[in-house]
Symmetry: C2
Subunit: 141 residues, 2 copies
């Protein structure tokens, strides 16, 4: 049960972006240097964030990325969905009536994992980018 670095980097990068995008777009190169994330990898991540309308891109010299929404309206849920960091606790297909192991009914632990999934998703839905910014004010450059 661990977080992948794609999800982790996405949030790191967006926090960085949110801090610096007041005036100009922020280039991935800058984020890469400040946060220590490979540029090529960041491009993959931002491509997805863009498709999900969390950021906008501005091409050309002095270009970069800008938030597409208010930090208060960007929930962790949105970010995670965008980069395919899904919370998956059950083994079976949820829609199906069948259980894991191909059994005809849901297994004895199915409800448990489902509860856990809800529990974790609740956390993500209640956290916005704004919350993270406030949390780290004191370390602001």
């Amino acid at each position: 049960m661990k977080l992948t670095s794609k999800g982790r980097y996405a949030v790191m990068a967006l926090v960085d972006l949110a801090r610096f995008d007041n005036i100009n777009p922020v280039s991935l190169r800058d984020i890469s240097l400040r946060q220590g994330i490979s540029l090529d990898y960041l491009e993959q991540i931002f491509s997805k964030l863009k498709k999900n309308e969390i950021v906008k891109s501005i091409r050309g010299t002095q270009g970069g990325y800008v938030l597409n929404k208010n930090p208060n309206d960007i929930k962790l849920t949105n970010i995670f969905n965008a980069v395919d960091e899904k919370v998956k606790t059950v083994q079976c297909k949820k829609e199906s009536k069948k259980g894991c192991n191909g059994k005809a009914t849901k297994c004895v632990t199915h409800n448990l994992w489902d509860e856990l999934e809800v529990h974790i998703n609740t956390f993500f839905e209640n956290k916005s980018l704004k919350d993270l910014l406030n949390n780290n004010k004191e370390t602001r450059v």
Copy 2:
């Protein structure tokens, strides 16, 4: 962010065991058949559960495994620890002052992941094997 099948199977097997161990020890073969888990794999899992004193083994014909504690005293936390299903959300080493990416200070998202870890662990600490048994009474054979 997903659960591994080792953790999932461990809980499944223990629920099965808790249901049937009233009179006699339960053999892994039976659990394997009822829950559709490979026997060889179950053996790996139960070896760990035994080391962590969650179950006791009884060798020989008619042998098997028995719970070593009251179902009410077996928390999911205990089970997960036993089979090395750890909740790991931060990237860095917790004890260290250093952050991930080898930086000198903790990264901007460190607190967030730490909160998440606590949030998930709380769930595991508040669930016991007993809770699962009650939940599934109606499907009892």
